[in-house]
Protein backbone atom coordinates (compact mmCIF):
# COMPACT_ATOMS: atom_id res chain seq x y z
CA UNK A 1 0.00 0.00 0.00
CA UNK A 2 1.31 3.45 -0.91
CA UNK A 3 1.01 5.71 2.10
CA UNK A 4 0.77 8.94 0.17
CA UNK A 5 -0.59 8.24 -3.27
CA UNK A 6 -0.49 11.85 -4.40
CA UNK A 7 3.20 12.35 -3.63
CA UNK A 8 4.00 8.92 -5.03
CA UNK A 9 2.36 9.71 -8.36
CA UNK A 10 3.83 13.20 -8.54
CA UNK A 11 7.31 11.85 -7.88
CA UNK A 12 7.19 8.81 -10.17
CA UNK A 13 5.06 10.02 -13.05
CA UNK A 14 7.93 11.76 -14.94
CA UNK A 15 9.90 8.48 -14.88
CA UNK A 16 6.95 6.49 -16.15
CA UNK A 17 6.34 8.97 -18.93
CA UNK A 18 10.00 8.91 -19.88
CA UNK A 19 10.03 5.11 -20.02
CA UNK A 20 6.89 5.26 -22.16
CA UNK A 21 8.59 7.68 -24.57
CA UNK A 22 11.79 5.65 -24.78
CA UNK A 23 9.91 2.40 -25.43
CA UNK A 24 7.97 4.11 -28.20
CA UNK A 25 11.27 5.30 -29.71
CA UNK A 26 12.68 1.77 -29.58
CA UNK A 27 9.52 0.39 -31.19
CA UNK A 28 9.76 2.96 -33.96
CA UNK A 29 13.46 2.06 -34.45
CA UNK A 30 14.46 5.62 -33.52
CA UNK A 31 16.63 4.27 -30.72
CA UNK A 32 18.10 0.90 -29.88
CA UNK A 33 19.54 -0.82 -26.90
CA UNK A 34 22.92 -1.58 -28.47
CA UNK A 35 24.24 1.70 -27.02
CA UNK A 36 25.33 0.65 -23.54
CA UNK A 37 24.79 4.03 -21.90
CA UNK A 38 21.32 4.33 -23.34
CA UNK A 39 20.50 0.71 -22.47
CA UNK A 40 21.49 1.32 -18.86
CA UNK A 41 19.30 4.41 -18.71
CA UNK A 42 16.26 2.56 -20.09
CA UNK A 43 16.96 -0.39 -17.81
CA UNK A 44 17.07 1.97 -14.85
CA UNK A 45 13.70 3.45 -15.78
CA UNK A 46 12.24 -0.02 -16.27
CA UNK A 47 13.53 -1.27 -12.94
CA UNK A 48 12.20 1.80 -11.16
CA UNK A 49 8.78 1.28 -12.74
CA UNK A 50 8.89 -2.42 -11.83
CA UNK A 51 9.62 -1.49 -8.26
CA UNK A 52 6.70 0.98 -8.27
CA UNK A 53 4.44 -1.77 -9.53
CA UNK A 54 5.73 -4.13 -6.85
CA UNK A 55 4.79 -1.56 -4.19
CA UNK A 56 1.25 -1.39 -5.55
CA UNK A 57 0.77 -5.12 -6.01
CA UNK A 58 0.21 -5.83 -2.35
CA UNK A 59 -2.99 -3.79 -2.19
CA UNK A 60 -6.37 -4.13 -3.79
CA UNK A 61 -6.76 -0.40 -4.30
CA UNK A 62 -5.55 1.89 -7.11
CA UNK A 63 -6.57 -0.57 -9.88
CA UNK A 64 -6.21 1.98 -12.69
CA UNK A 65 -2.70 2.90 -11.68
CA UNK A 66 -1.81 -0.75 -11.35
CA UNK A 67 -3.20 -1.50 -14.83
CA UNK A 68 -1.15 1.35 -16.27
CA UNK A 69 2.05 0.21 -14.59
CA UNK A 70 1.47 -3.43 -15.55
CA UNK A 71 1.07 -2.36 -19.16
CA UNK A 72 4.24 -0.29 -19.00
CA UNK A 73 6.27 -3.00 -17.28
CA UNK A 74 4.93 -5.55 -19.83
CA UNK A 75 6.12 -3.40 -22.74
CA UNK A 76 9.45 -2.73 -21.08
CA UNK A 77 9.94 -6.40 -20.30
CA UNK A 78 9.29 -7.37 -23.93
CA UNK A 79 11.79 -4.82 -25.26
CA UNK A 80 14.54 -5.22 -22.68
CA UNK A 81 14.51 -8.97 -22.20
CA UNK A 82 14.27 -9.63 -25.97
CA UNK A 83 17.05 -7.18 -26.82
CA UNK A 84 19.88 -9.72 -27.00
CA UNK A 85 18.13 -11.91 -29.54
CA UNK A 86 17.19 -8.94 -31.77
CA UNK A 87 20.76 -7.92 -32.40
CA UNK A 88 21.24 -9.75 -35.65
CA UNK A 89 19.16 -8.68 -38.61
CA UNK A 90 17.89 -11.20 -41.07
CA UNK A 91 20.45 -11.81 -43.79
CA UNK A 92 18.92 -13.86 -46.63
CA UNK A 93 22.18 -15.21 -48.03
CA UNK A 94 23.50 -16.27 -44.67
CA UNK A 95 20.14 -17.85 -43.88
CA UNK A 96 20.26 -19.82 -47.13
CA UNK A 97 23.84 -21.09 -47.01
CA UNK A 98 24.25 -21.49 -43.26
CA UNK A 99 21.08 -21.44 -41.21
CA UNK A 100 19.04 -23.70 -43.49
CA UNK A 101 21.55 -26.56 -43.99
CA UNK A 102 22.57 -26.36 -40.34
CA UNK A 103 18.95 -26.66 -39.18
CA UNK A 104 18.50 -29.58 -41.58
CA UNK A 105 21.51 -31.39 -40.13
CA UNK A 106 20.52 -30.64 -36.54
CA UNK A 107 17.25 -32.47 -37.12
CA UNK A 108 18.61 -35.08 -39.51
CA UNK A 109 16.80 -37.96 -37.77
CA UNK A 110 13.50 -36.55 -39.06
CA UNK A 111 14.80 -36.55 -42.61
CA UNK A 112 16.00 -40.15 -42.44
CA UNK A 113 12.66 -41.16 -41.01
CA UNK A 114 10.93 -39.32 -43.86
CA UNK A 115 13.10 -41.17 -46.34
CA UNK A 116 12.41 -44.51 -44.66
CA UNK A 117 8.63 -43.94 -44.64
CA UNK A 118 8.66 -42.93 -48.30
CA UNK A 119 10.71 -45.99 -49.21
CA UNK A 120 8.34 -48.32 -47.37
CA UNK A 121 5.44 -46.67 -49.20
CA UNK A 122 7.33 -46.98 -52.49
CA UNK A 123 7.87 -50.69 -51.93
CA UNK A 124 4.18 -51.17 -51.26
CA UNK A 125 3.28 -49.13 -54.37
CA UNK A 126 5.62 -51.23 -56.49
CA UNK A 127 4.22 -54.42 -54.97
CA UNK A 128 0.61 -53.42 -55.64
CA UNK A 129 1.33 -52.51 -59.26
CA UNK A 130 3.40 -55.69 -59.76
CA UNK A 131 0.40 -57.74 -58.66
CA UNK A 132 -1.71 -55.95 -61.25
CA UNK A 133 -4.06 -54.65 -58.60
CA UNK A 134 -7.35 -53.43 -59.99
CA UNK A 135 -8.29 -49.81 -59.38
CA UNK A 136 -5.06 -48.06 -60.33
CA UNK A 137 -7.04 -44.85 -59.95
CA UNK A 138 -6.84 -45.36 -56.21
CA UNK A 139 -3.04 -45.26 -56.38
CA UNK A 140 -2.45 -42.75 -59.16
CA UNK A 141 -3.78 -39.24 -58.78
CA UNK A 142 -2.87 -38.53 -62.44
CA UNK A 143 -5.36 -39.70 -65.12
CA UNK A 144 -2.72 -39.84 -67.85
CA UNK A 145 -0.91 -42.54 -65.89
CA UNK A 146 -4.06 -44.63 -65.43
CA UNK A 147 -5.49 -44.76 -68.91
CA UNK A 148 -2.34 -45.59 -70.86
CA UNK A 149 0.68 -47.83 -70.41
CA UNK A 150 4.11 -46.22 -70.01
CA UNK A 151 5.09 -47.41 -73.52
CA UNK A 152 1.99 -45.79 -75.03
CA UNK A 153 2.72 -42.56 -73.22
CA UNK A 154 6.38 -42.53 -74.27
CA UNK A 155 5.44 -43.22 -77.90
CA UNK A 156 2.88 -40.41 -77.84
CA UNK A 157 5.25 -37.94 -76.17
CA UNK A 158 8.06 -38.72 -78.62
CA UNK A 159 5.75 -38.49 -81.62
CA UNK A 160 4.49 -35.14 -80.40
CA UNK A 161 8.10 -34.06 -79.93
CA UNK A 162 9.03 -35.14 -83.43
CA UNK A 163 6.10 -33.16 -84.89
CA UNK A 164 7.00 -30.14 -82.82
CA UNK A 165 10.62 -30.21 -83.98
CA UNK A 166 9.65 -30.67 -87.65
CA UNK A 167 7.11 -27.83 -87.50
CA UNK A 168 9.32 -25.68 -85.32
CA UNK A 169 6.63 -25.19 -82.65
CA UNK A 170 6.59 -25.50 -78.87
CA UNK A 171 3.63 -27.49 -77.51
CA UNK A 172 3.97 -25.93 -74.09
CA UNK A 173 4.19 -22.41 -75.47
CA UNK A 174 1.70 -20.12 -73.79
CA UNK A 175 1.13 -22.25 -70.70
CA UNK A 176 4.57 -22.77 -69.18
CA UNK A 177 4.38 -19.95 -66.63
CA UNK A 178 0.88 -20.92 -65.54
CA UNK A 179 1.83 -24.59 -65.29
CA UNK A 180 4.94 -23.73 -63.32
CA UNK A 181 2.99 -21.52 -60.90
CA UNK A 182 0.33 -24.21 -60.40
CA UNK A 183 3.03 -26.76 -59.64
CA UNK A 184 4.70 -24.48 -57.12
CA UNK A 185 1.42 -23.72 -55.39
CA UNK A 186 0.41 -27.36 -55.20
CA UNK A 187 3.76 -28.69 -54.04
CA UNK A 188 4.31 -25.96 -51.47
CA UNK A 189 0.82 -26.63 -50.07
CA UNK A 190 1.54 -30.36 -49.82
CA UNK A 191 4.86 -29.67 -48.08
CA UNK A 192 3.35 -27.23 -45.60
CA UNK A 193 0.55 -29.70 -44.91
CA UNK A 194 3.08 -32.45 -44.29
CA UNK A 195 4.63 -30.18 -41.71
CA UNK A 196 1.41 -28.91 -40.13
CA UNK A 197 -0.03 -32.41 -39.79
CA UNK A 198 2.82 -33.12 -37.41
CA UNK A 199 0.40 -31.67 -34.83
CA UNK A 200 -1.60 -34.89 -35.12
CA UNK A 201 1.23 -36.57 -33.17
CA UNK A 202 2.92 -37.04 -36.53
CA UNK A 203 0.23 -39.40 -37.85
CA UNK A 204 -0.91 -37.03 -40.61
CA UNK A 205 2.68 -36.47 -41.74
CA UNK A 206 3.31 -40.18 -41.71
CA UNK A 207 0.29 -40.79 -43.94
CA UNK A 208 1.26 -38.07 -46.43
CA UNK A 209 4.82 -39.39 -46.72
CA UNK A 210 3.65 -42.97 -46.99
CA UNK A 211 1.08 -42.15 -49.69
CA UNK A 212 3.62 -40.12 -51.67
CA UNK A 213 5.93 -43.11 -51.45
CA UNK A 214 3.21 -45.45 -52.72
CA UNK A 215 2.58 -43.23 -55.78
CA UNK A 216 6.29 -42.84 -56.47
CA UNK A 217 6.99 -46.55 -56.13
CA UNK A 218 4.04 -47.41 -58.35
CA UNK A 219 5.12 -45.00 -61.11
CA UNK A 220 8.74 -46.11 -61.01
CA UNK A 221 7.86 -49.80 -61.07
CA UNK A 222 5.34 -49.25 -63.87
CA UNK A 223 7.89 -47.55 -66.12
CA UNK A 224 10.83 -49.81 -65.25
CA UNK A 225 8.84 -53.01 -65.78
CA UNK A 226 7.60 -51.65 -69.12
CA UNK A 227 11.19 -50.99 -70.27
CA UNK A 228 10.91 -47.21 -70.04
CA UNK A 229 13.55 -46.58 -67.40
CA UNK A 230 15.43 -44.00 -69.44
CA UNK A 231 12.28 -42.02 -70.21
CA UNK A 232 11.22 -42.19 -66.58
CA UNK A 233 14.59 -40.94 -65.34
CA UNK A 234 14.64 -38.19 -67.95
CA UNK A 235 11.10 -37.18 -67.02
CA UNK A 236 11.37 -37.33 -63.22
CA UNK A 237 14.99 -36.56 -62.36
CA UNK A 238 15.24 -32.90 -63.47
CA UNK A 239 12.48 -31.69 -61.15
CA UNK A 240 12.07 -34.72 -58.88
CA UNK A 241 15.66 -34.47 -57.67
CA UNK A 242 14.59 -31.23 -55.96
CA UNK A 243 10.84 -31.73 -55.50
CA UNK A 244 11.03 -35.07 -53.69
CA UNK A 245 13.74 -33.93 -51.23
CA UNK A 246 11.70 -30.79 -50.58
CA UNK A 247 8.62 -32.82 -49.70
CA UNK A 248 10.84 -35.02 -47.53
CA UNK A 249 11.96 -31.83 -45.77
CA UNK A 250 8.31 -30.96 -45.12
CA UNK A 251 7.88 -34.46 -43.72
CA UNK A 252 11.00 -33.99 -41.62
CA UNK A 253 9.51 -30.81 -40.13
CA UNK A 254 6.21 -32.61 -39.44
CA UNK A 255 7.94 -35.49 -37.70
CA UNK A 256 9.98 -33.08 -35.56
CA UNK A 257 6.74 -31.38 -34.57
CA UNK A 258 5.08 -34.72 -33.82
CA UNK A 259 7.99 -35.84 -31.69
CA UNK A 260 7.96 -32.58 -29.75
CA UNK A 261 4.24 -33.06 -29.11
CA UNK A 262 4.74 -36.61 -27.87
CA UNK A 263 7.81 -35.63 -25.84
CA UNK A 264 9.61 -38.86 -26.47
CA UNK A 265 13.12 -39.01 -25.05
CA UNK A 266 13.20 -35.62 -23.36
CA UNK A 267 12.44 -34.47 -19.83
CA UNK A 268 11.45 -30.96 -21.05
CA UNK A 269 7.91 -29.61 -20.75
CA UNK A 270 5.72 -29.35 -23.85
CA UNK A 271 6.24 -25.58 -24.08
CA UNK A 272 10.02 -25.92 -23.77
CA UNK A 273 10.08 -28.64 -26.40
CA UNK A 274 8.14 -26.48 -28.85
CA UNK A 275 10.28 -23.45 -28.04
CA UNK A 276 13.42 -25.41 -28.86
CA UNK A 277 12.28 -26.64 -32.27
CA UNK A 278 10.36 -23.60 -33.60
CA UNK A 279 13.33 -21.85 -35.28
CA UNK A 280 14.42 -25.06 -37.01
CA UNK A 281 10.88 -25.82 -38.15
CA UNK A 282 10.40 -22.39 -39.71
CA UNK A 283 13.81 -22.60 -41.38
CA UNK A 284 13.23 -26.06 -42.84
CA UNK A 285 9.73 -25.12 -44.06
CA UNK A 286 11.09 -21.93 -45.67
CA UNK A 287 13.95 -23.83 -47.30
CA UNK A 288 11.60 -26.48 -48.65
CA UNK A 289 9.35 -23.76 -50.13
CA UNK A 290 12.34 -22.19 -51.90
CA UNK A 291 13.38 -25.54 -53.34
CA UNK A 292 9.87 -26.08 -54.61
CA UNK A 293 9.86 -22.76 -56.43
CA UNK A 294 12.96 -23.96 -58.28
CA UNK A 295 11.41 -27.40 -58.89
CA UNK A 296 8.27 -25.77 -60.34
CA UNK A 297 10.33 -23.77 -62.82
CA UNK A 298 12.35 -26.84 -63.87
CA UNK A 299 9.26 -29.03 -64.24
CA UNK A 300 7.41 -26.57 -66.45
CA UNK A 301 10.32 -25.31 -68.52
CA UNK A 302 12.54 -28.40 -68.72
CA UNK A 303 11.09 -31.71 -67.52
CA UNK A 304 8.13 -31.78 -69.90
CA UNK A 305 10.32 -31.72 -73.00
CA UNK A 306 11.28 -35.19 -74.16
CA UNK A 307 13.29 -36.60 -77.01
CA UNK A 308 13.84 -35.50 -79.72
CA UNK A 309 13.33 -31.96 -78.34
CA UNK A 310 15.71 -32.66 -75.45
CA UNK A 311 17.92 -35.77 -75.38
CA UNK A 312 17.26 -37.95 -72.36
CA UNK A 313 20.93 -38.05 -71.37
CA UNK A 314 20.94 -34.25 -71.02
CA UNK A 315 17.94 -34.39 -68.69
CA UNK A 316 19.31 -37.32 -66.69
CA UNK A 317 22.70 -35.67 -66.34
CA UNK A 318 21.08 -32.39 -65.29
CA UNK A 319 18.92 -34.16 -62.69
CA UNK A 320 21.83 -36.23 -61.37
CA UNK A 321 24.13 -33.21 -61.04
CA UNK A 322 21.34 -31.30 -59.34
CA UNK A 323 20.73 -34.13 -56.87
CA UNK A 324 24.41 -34.34 -55.97
CA UNK A 325 24.61 -30.56 -55.60
CA UNK A 326 21.54 -30.51 -53.36
CA UNK A 327 22.91 -33.35 -51.24
CA UNK A 328 26.24 -31.53 -50.89
CA UNK A 329 24.42 -28.32 -50.00
CA UNK A 330 22.28 -29.95 -47.33
CA UNK A 331 24.96 -32.16 -45.80
CA UNK A 332 28.07 -30.02 -46.04
CA UNK A 333 27.20 -26.38 -46.66
CA UNK A 334 27.65 -24.03 -43.70
CA UNK A 335 29.87 -26.42 -41.78
CA UNK A 336 32.57 -24.64 -39.79
CA UNK A 337 35.99 -25.11 -41.36
CA UNK A 338 38.44 -27.30 -39.43
CA UNK A 339 40.82 -24.37 -38.86
CA UNK A 340 38.05 -22.09 -37.68
CA UNK A 341 36.84 -24.80 -35.37
CA UNK A 342 40.24 -25.11 -33.78
CA UNK A 343 40.53 -21.36 -33.42
CA UNK A 344 37.15 -21.25 -31.67
CA UNK A 345 38.36 -23.86 -29.19
Amino acid sequence: MIADLKTFIERERPHWKELERELEKIREHLADLSDLKYARHVLGLYQRTSSDLARLQGSSSEPELRAYLENLVGSGYAEIHSATRDRRHFRPWQWLVQTFPQAFRRQIWGFWMSVALTLVGALLGAFLISKGVEGREAIYPFPHLVHQTPSERVAREEQRGTEAVSKGRDDLEGRKATFSAELMRNNISVTFRAMAFGMTWGIGTLLILFYNGVVLGAVVFDYVSDGQTVFMLGWLLPHGSVEIPAILLGGQAGLILGRALIGWGTPDSLRTRFRKITPDLATIAGGAALLLVWAGIIEAFFSQYHEPVLPYWVKILFGAVQLVALAWFLFFCGKPKAGADELQR
Binding site: S61, R271, T278
Partner: protein, 254 residues
Protein backbone atom coordinates in the same frame (compact mmCIF):
# COMPACT_ATOMS: atom_id res chain seq x y z
CA UNK B 1 -2.66 -25.07 -15.72
CA UNK B 2 -5.86 -26.61 -14.50
CA UNK B 3 -8.27 -23.72 -14.47
CA UNK B 4 -9.08 -21.42 -17.30
CA UNK B 5 -8.06 -17.81 -16.67
CA UNK B 6 -8.80 -14.74 -18.74
CA UNK B 7 -5.32 -13.36 -18.32
CA UNK B 8 -1.80 -14.44 -19.05
CA UNK B 9 0.29 -13.81 -15.93
CA UNK B 10 3.99 -13.25 -16.38
CA UNK B 11 6.53 -12.96 -13.59
CA UNK B 12 9.61 -10.99 -14.47
CA UNK B 13 13.13 -11.52 -13.08
CA UNK B 14 12.66 -8.15 -11.35
CA UNK B 15 10.17 -9.85 -9.07
CA UNK B 16 6.95 -8.32 -10.36
CA UNK B 17 4.03 -9.91 -12.07
CA UNK B 18 2.05 -8.38 -14.89
CA UNK B 19 -0.94 -9.74 -16.67
CA UNK B 20 -2.11 -9.55 -20.27
CA UNK B 21 -5.84 -10.01 -20.95
CA UNK B 22 -6.43 -12.95 -23.29
CA UNK B 23 -8.58 -12.49 -26.39
CA UNK B 24 -11.82 -14.42 -26.67
CA UNK B 25 -12.90 -16.60 -29.59
CA UNK B 26 -15.52 -14.13 -30.85
CA UNK B 27 -13.14 -11.18 -31.23
CA UNK B 28 -10.54 -13.45 -32.77
CA UNK B 29 -13.06 -14.74 -35.30
CA UNK B 30 -14.13 -11.19 -36.13
CA UNK B 31 -10.49 -10.19 -36.64
CA UNK B 32 -10.06 -13.20 -38.91
CA UNK B 33 -13.05 -12.20 -41.05
CA UNK B 34 -11.84 -8.60 -41.27
CA UNK B 35 -8.43 -9.85 -42.44
CA UNK B 36 -10.12 -12.10 -44.94
CA UNK B 37 -12.10 -9.16 -46.31
CA UNK B 38 -9.01 -6.95 -46.43
CA UNK B 39 -6.97 -9.62 -48.21
CA UNK B 40 -9.76 -10.21 -50.72
CA UNK B 41 -9.98 -6.48 -51.39
CA UNK B 42 -6.20 -6.19 -51.71
CA UNK B 43 -6.10 -9.17 -54.05
CA UNK B 44 -8.86 -7.67 -56.22
CA UNK B 45 -6.86 -4.46 -56.43
CA UNK B 46 -3.73 -6.34 -57.47
CA UNK B 47 -5.76 -8.33 -60.00
CA UNK B 48 -6.90 -5.05 -61.58
CA UNK B 49 -3.32 -3.80 -61.66
CA UNK B 50 -1.97 -6.90 -63.41
CA UNK B 51 -4.88 -7.06 -65.85
CA UNK B 52 -3.03 -5.11 -68.56
CA UNK B 53 -0.32 -7.76 -68.39
CA UNK B 54 -2.88 -10.32 -69.61
CA UNK B 55 -3.13 -8.53 -72.95
CA UNK B 56 0.63 -8.55 -73.41
CA UNK B 57 1.68 -11.93 -71.97
CA UNK B 58 -1.30 -14.03 -71.02
CA UNK B 59 0.68 -17.03 -69.78
CA UNK B 60 3.04 -15.00 -67.64
CA UNK B 61 0.17 -12.91 -66.27
CA UNK B 62 -1.78 -16.01 -65.31
CA UNK B 63 1.31 -17.54 -63.71
CA UNK B 64 1.93 -14.35 -61.75
CA UNK B 65 -1.74 -14.24 -60.74
CA UNK B 66 -1.68 -17.83 -59.45
CA UNK B 67 1.47 -17.24 -57.42
CA UNK B 68 0.36 -13.89 -56.07
CA UNK B 69 -2.98 -15.25 -54.97
CA UNK B 70 -1.16 -18.05 -53.15
CA UNK B 71 1.23 -15.56 -51.59
CA UNK B 72 -1.72 -13.39 -50.50
CA UNK B 73 -3.52 -16.29 -48.86
CA UNK B 74 -0.49 -17.78 -47.11
CA UNK B 75 1.82 -14.84 -46.68
CA UNK B 76 -0.04 -11.60 -46.11
CA UNK B 77 -1.15 -12.37 -42.58
CA UNK B 78 2.41 -13.45 -41.78
CA UNK B 79 3.86 -10.26 -43.22
CA UNK B 80 1.46 -8.08 -41.29
CA UNK B 81 2.19 -9.87 -38.01
CA UNK B 82 5.92 -9.58 -38.65
CA UNK B 83 5.88 -5.90 -39.56
CA UNK B 84 3.22 -4.70 -37.10
CA UNK B 85 4.41 -6.53 -34.01
CA UNK B 86 1.87 -9.28 -33.94
CA UNK B 87 -1.00 -7.33 -35.42
CA UNK B 88 -2.95 -7.58 -38.65
CA UNK B 89 -5.58 -5.14 -39.90
CA UNK B 90 -8.30 -7.22 -38.25
CA UNK B 91 -6.39 -7.51 -35.00
CA UNK B 92 -5.68 -3.77 -34.97
CA UNK B 93 -9.35 -3.01 -35.41
CA UNK B 94 -10.42 -5.50 -32.78
CA UNK B 95 -7.67 -4.40 -30.37
CA UNK B 96 -5.80 -7.70 -30.41
CA UNK B 97 -2.14 -8.61 -30.64
CA UNK B 98 -0.15 -11.84 -30.92
CA UNK B 99 2.55 -12.02 -28.29
CA UNK B 100 5.07 -14.54 -27.09
CA UNK B 101 3.61 -16.59 -24.22
CA UNK B 102 6.56 -15.55 -22.03
CA UNK B 103 5.84 -11.87 -22.66
CA UNK B 104 8.87 -11.44 -24.93
CA UNK B 105 8.84 -10.02 -28.44
CA UNK B 106 7.65 -12.30 -31.23
CA UNK B 107 10.32 -14.02 -33.27
CA UNK B 108 9.91 -14.42 -37.02
CA UNK B 109 9.92 -18.21 -36.67
CA UNK B 110 6.97 -18.01 -34.27
CA UNK B 111 4.95 -16.00 -36.76
CA UNK B 112 5.78 -18.46 -39.53
CA UNK B 113 4.86 -21.54 -37.50
CA UNK B 114 1.60 -20.19 -36.06
CA UNK B 115 0.45 -19.27 -39.56
CA UNK B 116 1.61 -22.45 -41.30
CA UNK B 117 -0.22 -24.54 -38.75
CA UNK B 118 -3.50 -23.02 -39.89
CA UNK B 119 -3.57 -25.98 -42.28
CA UNK B 120 -4.34 -28.24 -39.35
CA UNK B 121 -6.29 -25.72 -37.26
CA UNK B 122 -8.75 -25.30 -40.14
CA UNK B 123 -9.70 -28.98 -40.12
CA UNK B 124 -12.22 -30.27 -40.93
CA UNK B 125 -13.73 -26.86 -41.79
CA UNK B 126 -14.17 -23.32 -40.41
CA UNK B 127 -11.30 -23.66 -37.92
CA UNK B 128 -13.29 -26.27 -35.98
CA UNK B 129 -10.24 -28.12 -34.64
CA UNK B 130 -8.34 -24.96 -33.73
CA UNK B 131 -11.44 -23.45 -32.14
CA UNK B 132 -12.11 -26.56 -30.10
CA UNK B 133 -8.53 -26.79 -28.89
CA UNK B 134 -8.51 -23.13 -27.89
CA UNK B 135 -11.72 -23.60 -25.89
CA UNK B 136 -10.06 -26.26 -23.76
CA UNK B 137 -6.73 -24.47 -23.49
CA UNK B 138 -6.11 -22.31 -20.45
CA UNK B 139 -4.41 -19.68 -22.62
CA UNK B 140 -6.98 -19.92 -25.44
CA UNK B 141 -4.29 -21.15 -27.81
CA UNK B 142 -5.12 -22.90 -31.06
CA UNK B 143 -2.71 -25.59 -32.28
CA UNK B 144 -0.63 -23.05 -34.20
CA UNK B 145 -0.27 -20.89 -31.10
CA UNK B 146 0.62 -23.90 -29.00
CA UNK B 147 3.42 -24.98 -31.33
CA UNK B 148 4.74 -21.44 -31.83
CA UNK B 149 4.50 -20.51 -28.15
CA UNK B 150 2.24 -17.53 -28.81
CA UNK B 151 -0.98 -16.15 -27.36
CA UNK B 152 -3.46 -13.59 -28.62
CA UNK B 153 -4.07 -10.82 -26.10
CA UNK B 154 -6.24 -7.74 -25.97
CA UNK B 155 -4.37 -4.46 -26.28
CA UNK B 156 -5.39 -2.09 -23.53
CA UNK B 157 -4.67 1.63 -23.71
CA UNK B 158 -3.87 2.86 -20.24
CA UNK B 159 -2.93 6.22 -18.77
CA UNK B 160 -1.77 6.92 -15.24
CA UNK B 161 -4.78 8.30 -13.32
CA UNK B 162 -4.42 11.98 -12.67
CA UNK B 163 -4.91 11.57 -8.93
CA UNK B 164 -2.42 14.30 -8.17
CA UNK B 165 -4.48 16.84 -10.08
CA UNK B 166 -7.69 15.64 -8.44
CA UNK B 167 -6.33 16.13 -4.96
CA UNK B 168 -4.24 19.22 -5.48
CA UNK B 169 -4.91 22.92 -5.05
CA UNK B 170 -8.45 22.88 -3.60
CA UNK B 171 -9.17 24.30 -0.17
CA UNK B 172 -10.42 21.59 2.16
CA UNK B 173 -12.70 23.04 4.86
CA UNK B 174 -12.50 19.74 6.80
CA UNK B 175 -8.99 20.73 7.86
CA UNK B 176 -10.59 23.11 10.35
CA UNK B 177 -11.74 20.08 12.36
CA UNK B 178 -8.76 17.74 12.68
CA UNK B 179 -10.43 15.54 15.31
CA UNK B 180 -13.46 14.90 13.07
CA UNK B 181 -11.09 14.33 10.11
CA UNK B 182 -9.33 11.67 12.18
CA UNK B 183 -12.67 9.98 12.87
CA UNK B 184 -13.52 10.09 9.17
CA UNK B 185 -10.22 8.44 8.25
CA UNK B 186 -10.96 5.75 10.80
CA UNK B 187 -14.43 5.02 9.47
CA UNK B 188 -13.82 5.13 5.72
CA UNK B 189 -12.66 1.77 4.38
CA UNK B 190 -9.97 1.58 1.65
CA UNK B 191 -12.63 0.32 -0.80
CA UNK B 192 -14.88 3.32 -0.10
CA UNK B 193 -11.92 5.67 -0.50
CA UNK B 194 -11.00 4.03 -3.79
CA UNK B 195 -14.58 4.30 -5.00
CA UNK B 196 -14.67 8.01 -4.22
CA UNK B 197 -11.27 8.55 -5.85
CA UNK B 198 -12.38 6.74 -9.01
CA UNK B 199 -15.55 8.83 -9.13
CA UNK B 200 -13.40 11.96 -9.15
CA UNK B 201 -10.79 10.65 -11.57
CA UNK B 202 -13.46 9.65 -14.05
CA UNK B 203 -15.37 12.85 -13.62
CA UNK B 204 -15.17 13.84 -17.29
CA UNK B 205 -16.12 10.39 -18.53
CA UNK B 206 -19.53 10.56 -16.86
CA UNK B 207 -22.45 12.45 -18.29
CA UNK B 208 -23.81 15.24 -16.15
CA UNK B 209 -26.94 13.57 -14.80
CA UNK B 210 -25.12 10.35 -13.90
CA UNK B 211 -22.32 12.33 -12.29
CA UNK B 212 -24.73 14.34 -10.11
CA UNK B 213 -26.55 11.19 -9.05
CA UNK B 214 -23.33 9.34 -8.22
CA UNK B 215 -21.85 12.25 -6.29
CA UNK B 216 -25.10 12.78 -4.41
CA UNK B 217 -25.21 9.14 -3.32
CA UNK B 218 -21.57 9.09 -2.33
CA UNK B 219 -21.79 12.40 -0.45
CA UNK B 220 -24.90 11.22 1.42
CA UNK B 221 -23.06 8.03 2.33
CA UNK B 222 -20.05 9.90 3.70
CA UNK B 223 -22.22 12.50 5.48
CA UNK B 224 -23.84 9.67 7.39
CA UNK B 225 -20.49 8.27 8.49
CA UNK B 226 -19.25 11.41 10.26
CA UNK B 227 -21.03 14.65 10.91
CA UNK B 228 -19.02 17.86 10.41
CA UNK B 229 -20.24 21.16 11.92
CA UNK B 230 -22.69 23.09 9.74
CA UNK B 231 -20.34 26.05 9.19
CA UNK B 232 -17.65 23.69 7.83
CA UNK B 233 -19.93 22.06 5.29
CA UNK B 234 -22.06 25.12 4.52
CA UNK B 235 -22.46 25.67 0.78
CA UNK B 236 -20.36 22.59 -0.16
CA UNK B 237 -21.53 20.85 -3.31
CA UNK B 238 -21.68 17.05 -3.32
CA UNK B 239 -18.63 16.94 -5.56
CA UNK B 240 -16.60 19.19 -3.29
CA UNK B 241 -17.71 17.16 -0.30
CA UNK B 242 -16.33 13.99 -1.88
CA UNK B 243 -13.16 15.81 -2.89
CA UNK B 244 -12.67 16.84 0.73
CA UNK B 245 -13.24 13.28 1.91
CA UNK B 246 -10.74 11.85 -0.57
CA UNK B 247 -8.14 14.50 0.23
CA UNK B 248 -8.57 13.89 3.94
CA UNK B 249 -8.31 10.11 3.65
CA UNK B 250 -5.31 10.00 1.30
CA UNK B 251 -3.50 12.82 3.14
CA UNK B 252 -4.00 10.89 6.31
CA UNK B 253 -2.08 7.93 4.96
CA UNK B 254 1.19 9.87 5.15
Amino acid sequence: MSSRSATLNISTPEGVTFSLPLAGPITRSLAFFIDFAVMSAAWNLVAILIKPLFFLMQDLALGVAVLMQFAFVEGMRMMMELLWRGQTVGKKLMGLRVVDEQGLKLRASQVVIRNLLRFVDMLPLFYALGGLVSLFNARAQRLGDLAAGTVVVRTVKTQPPDVAAVLAGKFNSFRECPHIEARLRQKVTPEEAQLALNALVRRDDLDEAARHKLYEELATHFREKVKFPDDVVFGLSDEQYIRNVVETVFRGRK
